[in-house]
Symmetry: C2
Subunit: 387 residues, 2 copies
């Protein structure tokens, strides 16, 4: 652990087929009024909506609803939620859905009682939150972002055409999260795979940086192997409970402060995808998959030791008779083969991108880089190769 | 994740050379009176005692002291602490030392305001704790037990000659723990190695059981590899900061509800060592090391697939040309070689045990067994082989 760190993760997890029982034991700890936040109504089709309302009713709760939280939640939607919170004196925000709904709930939690413009203060100036928070909790229906067990929130300001992400303090974490892997069965295969690459990318962003290859790198290798093995099963059978449950738990751990502790991190692939998403509104994980291969092929020469380790430890590639370069290349080849074989997208042209967009995306991307700080020219070259 | 689970770990960790700064930021959150609990005074030699008192004083705290907490903390010591808590209206118990001091602090936390006999209620009948808890925190000086980040407490009742362990709810966890790896430099090599095998054993107890080889097994493999690699460095140079810091962080994660989630577990090695310790007062980790090899050689035939996986994933042993049995055996051989090469103890005769004790230890051991429920006869046979 080369770097000093602090770590805190207070979210209580209820996991498994009986996870919803946790809602019954947790709700009595909060006040009377619950705000149910959800998306376009998929939770009604799979029966969770009725179940949650029944539990709330049986515990004497008053429920107000924030419907229609969109895949990239907007600040306008956040403000709609804040108004509901204040009008109804909401005691708990219960986000039911995927990462977008939970991200939106966090933004509502910090913004409802904010003095002044929350977008400016909390998502632009990154001021410490100094007002009352509204407690929040989640019922997860899609694995990928890890928002159910962290304090991160990504919000899009439509008027300003800016998407901003922020990791708040741990008191913004969901107080509890309900994770029933069966709830993820209804997600399409495309979205499942997008979520899977999202979690892999979270781990690789934390992995491929620095020379601080301590405990966190070993944990990441274990989680990557778990994801790879279970993806193979889930691709063959989307309703394999064990595979989906492992993927669900991996996603909560992958985007969790736990896995990158004490080490340098990168996050360039996410930064590029961020801008790709702004232009194409593509599925986040698919964008990450398409960018990762050319990006890693390019930066691997600046961090050979780690890419060689990646090949050995994650993909079990023998180093016998290979140079470090060959070993590193074999690891990235294995990743590419896995992406293709699983059915993830590898070409930006298949994600609504056009050649004209590439320079605009490159120019607007925040330069990071785990082993080498990227320039716009380098990012453009990577985008061209991904195209 | 075959089994449903709940997970919660609210301890805030301050880790690294600057970890003590966390004490300064945390103490103001608690009331005026701090009870400092510590052992025989090693913390005075390495300067932590003065540092902590200075910080407390500068923040206007009143400090009362519970000195002389012993390696296997007694219930009598717990009661002494409870009296101090009540006499002084203690607002925070600050445990400074290894797992014993922290375990003692937890017992004091639950027992101080207990109605009736806390030993009977909380350590014998395992009743839910229904009284006010005294918040506790820790400053760790020895890595191994993981008590700094869990709700476990092992207490010895000298009068009854019984050692009882219990895992309380997460509200008994230390509120925060200060982990500065440099504090562990002063521990003897023997105690360092004992702590290292303790953490390895925590991981293996959770690993070798059931056929539920999901995410938790992958995380355990990663942590075991981290411990093995860093032990090799620390054995060569006890003051290698990175190695000791990785070992310290691994120990917090190894005995943490996190690593065994959703899976069956064993804990037979700990049960046997428990009784070995009652007869010999040997170093806990060394007892575990001596018992583990014959125990695993015996039970491996009932859980071959997992021992084969252990060989492959933890020790990187090639399965080429090997039967499952041979692969499993090669993994246990590698563990034995590691134990010997590191300088850990492999013989009970080197831990103050006599041949006469073995049947008594076997008889009094709680029978568990990850892949096969043990009988007293089987345990005796294992003890003989370990002797």
């Amino acid at each position: 652990m080369k770097l000093d760190f602090t770590y805190e993760n207070p979210t209580k997890i209820y996991f498994g087929r009986t996870a919803m029982d946790g809602l019954r034991s947790e709700l009595p700890k909060y006040g009377k009024t619950v705000m149910l936040a959800y998306g376009k109504g998929a939770i009604k089709k799979i029966g969770i909506y009725d179940q949650v309302l029944d539990i709330c009713k049986s515990l004497g709760k008053t429920v107000v609803e924030l419907q229609g939280v969109m895949p990239n939640p907007t600040y306008k939607k956040v403000l709609e939620g804040c108004q509901l919170v204040k009008d109804n004196n909401v005691d708990l925000i219960l986000a039911v859905g995927g990462g977008s709904v939970i991200d939106c709930a966090k933004a509502i939690s910090v913004s409802s009682y904010c003095q002044g413009d929350a977008w400016q203060r909390y998502f632009t100036n990154f001021e410490p939150v100094d007002n009352k928070l509204v407690p929040l909790a989640s019922i997860l229906t899609m694995a990928g972002t890890g928002s159910e067990m962290n304090a991160g929130s990504v919000i899009t300001n439509e008027d300003l055409k800016i998407k901003m992400g922020r990791v708040f303090n741990a008191d913004v974490n969901p107080r509890f999260s309900i994770l029933n892997p069966e709830y993820t069965f209804s997600v399409s295969k495309y979205q499942m795979l997008s979520g899977i690459f999202d979690m892999m990318s979270h781990l690789m962003e934390a992995y491929f940086a620095g020379d601080d290859d301590g405990t966190s790198s070993y944990i990441i290798e274990g989680l990557l192997r778990a994801i790879i093995d279970n993806t193979r099963v889930a691709v063959a059978n989307k309703e394999d409970y064990e595979a989906r449950s492992n993927l669900m738990w991996c996603s909560s751990l992958a985007m969790n402060p736990l896995v990158g502790l004490g080490k340098a991190q990168d996050w360039e692939v996410h930064m590029i995808e961020h801008q790709l998403g702004a232009y194409t509104d593509c599925a986040h994980g698919m964008g990450l998959a398409a960018i990762s291969i050319p990006y890693y092929r390019y930066v691997s020469k600046f961090g050979l030791h780690k890419f060689a380790r990646f090949a050995r430890e994650v993909w079990h590639i023998s180093e016998e008779g290979k140079t470090q370069e060959e070993l590193a290349k074999a690891g990235i080849d294995a990743l590419e083969h896995f992406i293709k074989k699983s059915g993830m997208v590898t070409r930006l042209r298949d994600l609504n991108a056009t050649e004209e967009m590439l320079p605009l995306i490159a120019k607007s991307t925040v330069p990071m880089g785990g082993y080498k700080k990227m320039t716009s020219e380098e990012i453009l070259e990577i985008l061209k190769q991904a195209y």
